[in-house]
């Protein structure tokens, strides 16, 4: 029997005794729950996006003097912010997501971030992906632990990441898939030809790590190739380039709409480390924000009614200095803004406790402080959207170090 088939049965066998019911051939749901596939999409902005200019506190008189060159003008001015709530404004390059804010499908949690003080990109991203800030010894990523607490069987496509490598956040014991949604996605490759697959089947038929990766890949390709036959979007190949994100997001929406197996998705975008010449309404930051906004809007649109069942979290490892530096840019900071889109989010609101920009309110006198641990936002999504219990949440987000639990009020009901 084909290797992929054997592996599938292996996984299906593990499901005996679980409370999961297959509905039709391809969708799985918790027994006695509405058959809407509950999904979580995580978008990580690597490089520390300048949250203070994504959701800018124009109403604070200290904002403009801190940023004489890169500060954004108040709403109503030319190239000004898009007003959110009379005190905060959205970067004008993010106009594409304003309808989501206005229809209350989008919320922000400001002054959000890590309890760990590190300003090293690599450490801070590590801590955000392992969800154990300050702890280096965590072997797996929180999204992999999340796969483990979701209903079995854990088919490789239950959690997918967009890109050529498996990110830390999805690393761990549970199988996950990765795919590229660039222009070559869906095109058949030699490994799809029966003669080729059969030539290699014996060599990769074991249960060692390489064999499992091969078999998972065959399974994923068979399942997803049907989903991906359609359009050939001119998208960028790697997950790194923000400019390719809109097309990739549209294709992701398509994929999620068609395939109920996929419950967790992850994408990362880079290019946010604006030490020099950050720009204001236009420039480096704006050029990266625009495709991010368009991509999120495309994702929401493509999901249609399924947006009810999908929560998208956008996060970054830390924010940037409140004051601009000598090169019209910003340096590594602390607090940032987290985005929450979809599901039953209490949208159209800025959540969290805003500490202000006064000198004694800034962290170490230079950065936006953190008043909400980022794990509280994830915990809220796990609790209210994915319906996880406290013990499951503690498995995914161990109290290491402890934090105050799910952020109340972020989701309705």
């Amino acid at each position: 029997m084909p290797m992929a088939r054997r592996r599938f049965l292996e996984l299906a066998g593990a499901a005996l005794g679980a409370t999961v019911l297959p509905l039709g051939g391809r969708s799985w749901a918790l027994a006695a729950e509405a058959p809407v596939t509950r999904r979580l999409v995580v978008v990580m902005l690597r490089g520390a996006v300048d949250g203070l200019n994504v959701v800018a506190p124009y109403g604070d008189p200290l904002y403009a003097p801190l940023r004489p060159n890169i500060g954004l003008a108040a709403p109503g001015s030319a190239e000004g912010l898009l007003d959110l709530d009379g005190h905060f404004g959205l970067h004008p390059a993010l106009a594409a997501v304003m309808p989501l804010w206005q229809s209350r499908r989008l919320a922000f949690v400001h002054a959000c971030g890590s309890p760990d003080p590190s300003r090293s990109h690599f450490d801070a991203q590590d801590y955000m992906e392992s969800a154990t800030p300050g702890v280096r010894t965590t072997a797996d990523g929180w999204m992999n632990r999340l796969v483990g607490v979701l209903p079995a069987p854990h088919a490789p496509t239950q959690a997918i990441s967009l890109g050529a490598t498996r990110p830390r956040i999805l690393g761990g014991a549970q199988p996950t898939s990765n795919l590229s949604l660039g222009p070559n996605a869906g095109k058949p490759m030699p490994v799809d030809r029966p003669a080729v697959a059969s030539a290699f089947a014996g060599l990769y038929g074991g249960s060692d790590a390489l064999s499992r990766a091969y078999q998972d890949g065959q399974m994923a390709r068979q399942e997803l190739s049907a989903d991906m036959q359609a359009e050939q979007a001119a998208a960028d190949n790697g997950a790194v380039n923000a400019k390719g994100f809109p097309a990739i997001a549209a294709r992701l929406a398509n994929l999620l709409s068609r395939d109920d197996h996929i419950q967790l998705a992850f994408a990362d975008l880079g290019g946010w480390d604006t030490h020099v010449n950050q720009g204001a309404a236009k420039g480096q930051l704006a050029a990266h924000l625009r495709p991010l906004g368009e991509g999120l809007a495309a994702l929401a649109q493509g999901l249609g009614p399924q947006l009810d069942g999908t929560v998208v979290l956008v996060m970054s490892e830390f924010g940037r200095t409140a004051r601009e530096n000598g090169n019209k840019g910003t340096d590594h900071g602390h607090g940032n803004v987290m985005w929450v889109l979809g599901g039953q989010v209490a949208g159209g609101r800025i959540h969290g406790a805003w500490p202000g920009l006064a000198p004694d309110a800034l962290y170490q006198g230079r950065d936006l402080a953190v008043t909400t641990d980022f794990r509280r936002v994830i915990a809220a999504a796990l609790k209210h959207h994915l319906g996880l219990g406290d013990r499951q949440i503690a498995t995914v987000l161990p109290p290491s170090p402890p934090f105050d639990g799910a952020l109340p009020g972020l989701f309705l009901g």
Binding site: V191, A195, Y204
Partner: protein
């Protein structure tokens, strides 16, 4: 257990049960392949012959002294043909820098030219990895380039990446770390990538325009990534102190270059320098100008944290994803004793029982670069069309010179083994092995120079010949002890056009 490892274990058993020179030979076979897999980018006919001629220890010793090894004409001729790679940074700047104003079409054409320069640098890099007889030198270039990573698509770095590799990295890969550190710190490619060219003392006479203040980027990464490591014991105050030390350390303006008579692209601008005294890592650095940076680099290079950080990286690159702590400690001590003599540390590393242990053999998963290069070396083809190779590396997630962040690419299995990666590698092996990858024919003329074609379409009708697969028997003989019986069986039962593909796509060939 991989065949090579089993062979080594078996030969060790033989030692216990029988004496004689038979053991030495069998062990050598396994050790030969292990050396070619780690100190070179896998076996090629030439390297196997050289190793057999010199014996393992002789070959290792020769590889540790690349200046004693002649380079083959097939390499030096090809390198000489890459015109832009013969030019210095100032000339490259003058010739290829996009005009600041002017029509968008002219700027677009200029950027296209810049990408051409990067492409030539990439071709030079690949040619050396494939054909250099100084294989260990090229392996060390891979290691050190990643350690001192630069992203070629950032602005002017597109022009300078080749010079950076060839002048700042390659000459120093087995010399004194202090010299390597200095060379990277002075190169315009690094100063541009990590923004130090704009690092200016606020209020200094030269502060104007965009260059009006302190920029911490290079100072931080110089400590966190290049020397001490993230746990190296520095504070935010040290980052600021080092940034102040580095003010004015930057890139020359072309007119200035002619005046000072130097074409390497570096210039120290005393008008933008902070001449105050600094406390850096507990040392007082008196304001004196460029000499301060020399002092700072001395302190960083001499630190035990640096010795440990880089010894760990070397042990991880050459021995195991989780390097044995005892080995890392010994290498650290050798580093300190030798004052950062890379060759001395490598000598100890390659002679160590940890490196030569059967547990180490074939235990590292190849990075995409290592996989693509070793497969192409084994195929023994004269590469003229680089696109399938660049395309494959990009699809596998490791585009050449394409790591955005200064920490460089990882080399662990966790970083690279995933379902999609194996499917892509096996597809690459199939295309290459079954004769569907015309690396030795000039690429079709297309305007889309970025075309990523790991599996190129067949050529138009009049030129089409039946694809000729690689010679599977030759491949199997070349790879020798590295191929398991299981793989040899699979090759035997595979159809003729897929036999070579099975060799290159086997689990044996995925590791080294």
């Amino acid at each position: 257990m991989p065949m090579l490892r089993r062979k080594l274990l078996m030969t060790l058993v033989l030692v216990v049960t029988a004496c004689g020179s038979g053991w030495a030979q069998a062990a050598e076979d396994g050790l030969d392949m292990h050396m070619l897999n780690r100190l070179a980018f896998g076996p090629s006919a030439d390297s196997v012959a050289m190793l057999q001629q010199l014996g393992v220890e002789g070959w290792v010793n020769q590889q540790l002294h690349p200046e004693t090894i002649a380079e083959p004409r097939r390499l030096t001729d090809r390198l000489a043909g890459l015109e832009t790679q013969q030019l210095d940074p100032v000339t490259l700047l003058e010739r290829y820098r996009p005009p600041k104003d002017g029509d968008p079409d002219a700027r677009k054409a200029a950027r296209k030219q810049m990408r051409m320069v990067t492409r030539e640098a990439g071709q030079a890099h690949l040619l050396r990895a494939l054909y250099s007889s100084r294989q260990l030198q090229e392996v060390m270039v891979d290691f050190w380039f990643n350690h001192f990573n630069i992203f070629a698509a950032k602005g002017l770095d597109a022009l300078w990446i080749g010079d950076y590799e060839d002048k700042a990295i390659r000459p120093h890969v087995m010399g004194r770390f202090r010299d390597l550190l200095e060379a990277t710190a002075r190169h315009p490619a690094m100063l541009f990538y990590l923004d130090n060219w704009q690092n200016t003392a606020p209020g200094s006479p030269g502060a104007k325009g965009k260059e009006t203040g302190l920029n911490e980027n290079y100072a931080r990464e110089l400590m966190e990534l290049h020397t001490l490591g993230v746990d190296g014991g520095y504070t935010q105050d040290d980052v600021i102190a080092l940034a102040r030390v580095l003010t004015g350390w930057g890139i020359v303006r072309p007119r200035q270059a002619r005046a000072i008579g130097s074409q390497d692209g570096f210039a120290f601008d005393e008008n933008r320098h902070d001449y105050g005294d600094k406390i850096f890592l507990g040392h007082t650095i008196h304001g004196q100008g460029a000499a301060e940076i020399e002092q700072a680099l001395d302190i960083l290079a001499a630190s035990p944290a640096t010795a440990h950080h880089i010894s760990f990286e070397l042990a991880q690159y050459f021995v195991a994803d989780q390097p044995p702590p005892a080995l890392v400690e010994r290498l650290t001590r050798r580093w300190m004793d030798s004052k950062g003599d890379i060759r001395a540390v490598l000598k100890d590393l390659f002679a160590s029982p940890e490196f030569r242990s059967p547990a180490t053999v074939a235990a590292k998963f190849k990075t995409p670069f290592q996989y693509v290069v070793s497969a192409t070396r084994a195929a023994d083809v004269d590469v003229v069309n680089f696109r399938p190779l660049f395309g494959a590396m990009k699809r596998l997630g490791q585009p050449l010179y394409g790591c955005l962040t200064p920490d460089g690419y990882k080399n662990t299995r966790d970083a690279w083994l995933n379902p999609d990666a194996l499917a892509l590698r096996i597809s690459f092996a199939t295309a290459l092995g079954s004769g569907h990858m015309p690396l030795d024919r000039p690429p079709p003329q297309t305007d889309d120079e970025e075309a990523d074609q790991p599996v190129p379409p067949p050529p138009p009708e009049p030129m089409r010949q039946r694809p000729v697969p690689l010679d599977a028997d030759r491949l199997a003989a070349l790879l020798g002890a590295a191929l398991s019986d299981k793989t040899r069986d699979a090759v035997n039962t595979a159809p003729p056009q897929l036999k070579a593909a099975v060799v290159l796509g086997s689990p044996d060939f995925m590791a080294h």
